[in-house]
Amino acid sequence: MCGIIGYTGDRQAREVIMAGLKRLEYRGYDSAGVGIVDRDLDIFKDKGEIDHIEETMPDIRGNFGVGHTRWATHGPPMKINAHPMTDCHGKFALVHNGIIENYITLKEGLVERGHKFTSETDTEVAVHLLEENYEGNLEDAVRRTVAQLEGSYAIAVLHSDERGKIVGARMISPLVVGLGRNENFLASDVPAILEYTDRMIYLLDGEIVTVTKDDVRIQNIEGNPVERSWERVDMTLEGAEKGGYEHFMLKEIFEQPKVIQDTLIGTSMSTENGYTTSFSPDTIKIIACGTSYHAGYVGKHMFEEIAKTPTTVELASEYRFSSSTASRPLIIGITQSGETSDTLAAIRTAKRRGLDTLGIVNIVGSTMTREVDEVFFTRAGLEVGVAATKTYITQLIALASLAIKMGMSKNTIGIDQARQLTNQMRTLPKHVRTILDDSDCIRELAEGLTGARSMFFLGRSINYPVALEGALKMKEISYIHAEGYPGGELKHGPLALVTSETPVVAIAVKDQTYEKMLGNIGEVSARGAKVIGVGTEGDKELAKYVDHTIMIPQVPHIFTPVLTSVVLQLLAYYAANALDCEIDKPRHLAKSVTVE
């Protein structure tokens, strides 16, 4: 998974490409490169972050070029494996995002025919194929080349003899065309080029686009022209500035009261008008990856409690390879970016099985929104921090809203209960703000965790997935090994690992699991573990069982995950910050995972 960008126009291509790559950095950041044509093709690429590349880069001039930021899949992060890739004669510069699955076969043939390979990447086959297929017209060569490729790709390529022309092609991996005045753009993602234009064409699978400074032409894989109109993107870049915060992650944590409210505004009016979702399924299956999977797991409890609908949660990468069964669940796919390959592939599998699909997506216009039958947009805005925070919170709100709608359409709750639940949801921004206002005490506790090598997060029922998410956040940004576990399962194994050196965070809010959680806390503290208890305001009992408490305001237990999650986000953030970790760019991770 990588980010690509192409530019042609009157500006210095280097400036546009470097600015764009910085905004694409969330897609990968182990190496980067640019290829720009002035008289000849100039390539500069290296291992390292974009800032490092920019500092060491010579003054490459020229008005058209391509750029790339890489997250290694085939071949380790090294200069030779960075893009752009060139052919044997240094005429083409090609950048690629995705995975070419049949590259080994293709490579064998190319080597036999005398091509010299310089990298270990799958991408390099594409540029040598282009060389073979080239008869003086770049887009024809691209069309013939992509016909030979299997897998996923978004590519942008130029030929140094065809001045001012960039050709792009898309299969599965995202690619947008930005329309400017006397200049045009190609990019993996809208924010990369939003500084220059808000008029975008989202390329579809199998389409090939030829971009010059005053023309954009799209054709399909058969070579027939395709008419596509542009869309105006309603997104601002302001969200992409840190505005005084030390890290994007902290800024995004503090934006949560606002985005909860924005998401509620999007949904509450329709609920109260009696609008219900068009689905009232017998069963639900939620598919997602990573943090979205944890949101889905919370959603399972909401659907079962409010809509009385049996719900299963499955990792998208697992669902794809599961066998089809007799049940016909509604498939709910959750992906912030709408581009997560595993989730998209799982949705496609579900559609092949003839199932209804619903997407919970943050990015308008993303691939997911075109693939599913119905979309619920979270209104979290642009999220830059690699560790998801505000998008996850809005996913919880989305799931609760859907559960309420579904409950009404299945008559498991009446309009009075729906109204009460909606009103209770509307108090959440205020309660989240209370937690944020008191974050200093969480910081102090987090700073005490920095010596730990391993941690446990415990929760039960609807707060079990929150424990999973708390552990994931801790792992991904602070590099402290952490495991989320259901309170009751600890004694079936992991208790053996609990010592005085393993801090435990236990979610013990006042609900049906409270007494049992106190028992589980007793089990770990008996083994000398220091316990941080996350409890409900006004609970005087909890402090007797744990070493430290963090209290959340009282809300119905179905909404407690919104508050307990914020507590655990802050705990992970402050622990990582005290350890001086690269919070916004954790090692080996990228924001939207567009490889499988």
Binding site: E238, K242, F254, E255, Q261, L264, I265, M269, T427, K430
Partner: protein, 375 residues
């Protein structure tokens, strides 16, 4: 952040600066700095560039001079200083920067000079400045808006060394050696010194309110005068709104609620049936249950009022640190996240702190401290 006409007070200053092409802005922030940073970010929405300096020490002696000393490394040459809690119109800034002079103070006439630093002039030159004088020496006051040169940081160090931490003392210290000129302005300047000042300042700001409605307005809603309603807000039937009134995003008002002039209602506020709100400032996330009466009152963010709450207004005398101040009409002033049961009634002019819990059917006849539980 305190909002006037649903916009944080600071936003008025930022706009005034931007209108005068003053775009390089440093904010000294402290407690709850995140809410300020989240709102303004890098200033791009206002076409300015904002950076932040955290005034880490939050001690009692940290006065205005101390706050200014925080930015020593961030400013070069001449610069403007604005207080964060004043409403400042663009003309004030224009008057300040239209003439040269390294040290300039914006002054204005005040009916209550003893609240401020009072300035004595000779022509346009400041001869003396006295903070909160006990005897009447004139009614020209410093607005706390200055133009300085970076040489002032030396004077700040000296004055703070002698144990004084306010800017008035620094200026007093400089007067014998440096020419400090006064700029009298006719531009808009309002100061919120006491919580009840907000009502008047809010009413003035709302005079500029323009009618604009989004959200959903049911049949049978009457609206007169300028009424501004935010996205996603629902106004239910039988509701009567007399502008100028501004209502934020995602609110639910009515059915059958009366909202009378000079009222600002923040985002995500719910007001139940048969309630009356008049000449009041309501922050975000407030819940007012049915049958309540809120007049000439300020309700902080997240306040919840049970059914039949009553805050009637009257002429009152408010006691401040050093004196008694008559206020023409005042209801209740309620701090953030305070929750009240049903049928609570509040004596006019009462201050209720933040995060209090007040039981059903309570009569509040004196001020209540933060986090108090009233049984």
């Amino acid at each position: 952040m305190i909002s006037i006409a649903n916009r944080p007070i600071l936003e008025y200053s930022i706009e005034a600066l931007a209108a005068n092409k003053v775009t390089d802005i440093t904010m000294v922030v402290g407690y709850k700095k995140e809410s300020i940073m989240s709102h303004f970010e890098d200033g791009g929405d206002w076409n300015v560039k904002i950076s932040y300096v955290d005034q880490k020490k939050r001690v009692a002696k940290a006065g205005t001079a101390y706050a200014l000393s925080m930015v020593k490394k961030h400013v070069k040459g001449d610069f403007i200083v604005l207080p964060g809690d004043n409403i400042i119109g663009p003309n004030v800034i224009a008057d300040l920067i239209d003439q040269t002079g390294k040290y300039r103070i914006v002054i204005t006439e005040s009916e209550e000079p003893s609240k401020y630093g009072v300035v004595e002039l000779s022509g346009k030159v400041v001869k003396n400045i006295v903070e909160k004088p006990t005897e009447h020496i004139g009614n020209l006051i410093s607005t706390g808006i200055y133009k300085f040169s970076d040489e002032i940081f030396k004077a700040i160090d000296t004055v703070m060394g002698s144990g004084k931490y306010d800017l008035t003392s620094v200026i007093q210290h400089m007067i014998p050696k440096t020419k400090v000129t006064a700029v009298k302005t006719g531009g808009v300047w309002n100061d919120v010194v006491y919580p009840w000042d907000m009502l008047e300042v809010n009413a003035i700001a709302l005079r500029k309110c323009a009618s604009q409605t989004s959200g959903r307005i049911d049949k049978g809603v009457t609206m007169k005068g300028p009424v501004n309603i935010g996205e996603g807000t629902i106004i239910r039937s039988g509701t009567h709104i007399m502008g100028p009134v501004i209502i934020g995003e995602g609110c639910e008002i009515g059915p059958s609620v009366c909202i009378y002039p000079s009222t600002s209602i923040g985002a995500n506020v719910r007001i139940g049936p048969f309630s009356v709100v008049e000449h009041s400032v309501l922050m975000d996330d407030i819940i007012i249950n049915s049958g309540s009466y809120v007049s000439h009152s300020v309700l902080g963010e997240g306040v919840e009022l049970g059914p039949q709450f009553c805050a009637a207004e009257d002429a009152v005398v408010m006691r401040t640190e050093d004196e008694n101040r008559p206020v023409e009409r005042l209801g209740a002033l309620v701090g953030e996240k305070t929750v009240m049961g049903s049928q609570v009634s509040v004596r006019p002019g009462t201050l209720i702190g933040a995060r209090c819990r007040i039981a059903h059917q309570t009569r509040i006849d004196r001020d209540v401290e933060d986090k108090t539980i009233v049984m």
